[in-house]
């Protein structure tokens, strides 16, 4: 019978079980895509989304030995990602940065026969105009399909607050979509 392998120690961190690292590798491989989508919806920028996902995984790894429940890992990761984004938004240079929303290499809406590109651009701009917590509430409720209770837990606020925030965000998105070509929406739905 072989003696148990000593716990590996990452320099600078407390010793942790080898299975912890294996679980983390598996989780990171599996969840990176979904976390990137969520980060992109929150921030609207591919590069910032990648940075957020990496920061999220770093924070997650530091607390990883405490995350024993497989089912709890995904919601916890989304919560960490959201905190990372809100922290990022609070930084002074992020507040000072103003995007004009015009990307030169984006196809002009009137030249997009299907109108889908225009639709995405409209929803991206509408999302960008929402306040951070309102935007988070909309994404968590209507894209991640979290319940009001789960969203309130992630945002660390009351359920009533989640309802009001998501209702306002939803109204803003509907207003933005109201003037769009019905064919584009049909195509998207199909």
């Amino acid at each position: 019978m072989q003696p148990p392998a000593p716990a590996p120690c990452v320099r600078g961190m407390s010793p942790r079980d080898r299975s912890d690292d294996e679980r983390f590798h598996v989780f990171a491989t599996r969840s990176t895509a979904s976390l990137t989508r969520l980060a992109y919806l929150l921030c609207g920028d591919q590069h910032l989304a990648h940075d957020l996902v990496q920061t999220c995984l770093i924070r997650l790894y530091q607390a990883w030995p405490k995350v024993r429940d497989k089912n709890a890992a995904d919601p916890y990761a989304r919560k960490v990602l959201l905190r990372c984004w809100l922290n990022e938004r609070r930084r002074p240079w992020r507040r000072a940065e103003a995007r004009d929303g015009y990307v030169p290499d984006t196809p002009a809406p009137q030249r997009d026969p299907a109108g889908v590109v225009h639709l995405k651009e409209v929803i991206r701009v509408a999302l960008a105009k929402l306040p951070p917590r309102q935007r988070a509430a909309v994404v968590l409720r209507y894209w991640s399909q979290h319940t009001v209770t789960e969203t309130a837990a992630i945002l660390r606020c009351s359920e009533g607050n989640v309802k009001s925030q998501s209702a306002r965000g939803l109204a803003a998105l509907r207003t933005a979509l109201a003037g769009l070509d019905a064919e584009a929406l049909e195509e998207l739905n199909s």
Binding site: V10, T36, K120, Y142, L177
Partner: protein, 250 residues
């Protein structure tokens, strides 16, 4: 009702390409973050400890009486000295450590005590058989004083004493200041002796022995013995005069 919003958001989310994240790199970065955080905490703790030590050191320097009585390095006196008082002054002091003026009630207690102190010192220090005045003290808000005569085998000579506190002591810088020393109990003494070289017309020239002393508790004493130059000096040595420096506690 919200399906259309969900579809639009999903379409937008599909634009995002998965982040090229290497989990091994993430682990290394997490370890680096942890090391950096610990380094910051350690530096902050060390800074706090250094500031605390500095504060204590500065406090000790500002309050030299807290470090214990000073030791004598230059004293040449041979007779016993009265131990330095260890009690705090009876008069109140303000929060800033500035002494408040003495009250009449305090002075009513202080005057007979100082008188008893000087009479006891005469009996102990001066040769037997000498007589002296009553040396009753007068006091105001800042200090007490007395004047009187001592009668020895030759005649009489005058003693003047002033006792105060917390108003400092001018160091004796004059050529007549012949000795400066620290007594075993920490009392600092500047002893002087002089003679009227240029007396006022019509007045007899005088010879003087005396000292200014600062005791560890802040009591400052000014003592002068004087007699006419025409008479012989009293049979009291300089060291015996200096013994009076430890007699008084304001």
């Amino acid at each position: 009702m919200t399906d259309d919003i969900t579809r639009v958001l999903a379409a937008l989310a599909d634009e995002a390409h998965p982040a090229p994240v290497d989990s091994h790199t993430v682990i290394q970065l997490a370890a680096a973050h942890t090391r950096a955080r610990r380094a910051v905490y350690t530096a902050a703790f060390a800074t706090l400890v250094a500031i605390g030590a500095l504060t204590v050191a500065i406090g000790a320097v500002r309050d030299p009486t807290a470090t214990g009585p000073a030791t004598s390095t230059t004293s040449t006196t041979s007779k016993t000295s009265t131990p330095a008082p260890t009690t705090k002054p009876t008069s109140p002091t303000s929060d800033e450590g500035i002494r408040q003026p003495a009250t009449p009630e305090e002075n009513a207690v202080r005057k007979p005590r100082l008188q008893a102190d000087i009479i006891a010192a005469f009996d102990r220090i001066l040769p037997a058989g000498w007589d002296h005045s009553t040396f009753g003290f007068g006091c105001d808000q800042t200090g007490c004083w007395t004047d009187g005569d001592i009668i020895d085998d030759i005649g009489n000579f005058n003693i003047h004493v002033y006792v105060g506190k917390d108003f400092g002591q001018s160091p004796c810088m004059a050529p007549s200041c012949v000795r400066r020393e620290t007594l075993p109990d920490g009392t600092e003494v500047s002893f002087f002796k002089n003679t009227d070289d240029d007396p006022i017309p019509g007045m007899e020239p005088m010879e003087r022995r005396g000292f200014s002393a600062l005791r560890p508790d802040g009591t400052d004493v000014h003592f002068t013995a004087e007699w006419p130059t025409s008479r012989e000096a009293p049979a009291v040595t300089d060291d015996e005069w200096i013994e009076f420096a430890t007699v008084f506690t304001y």
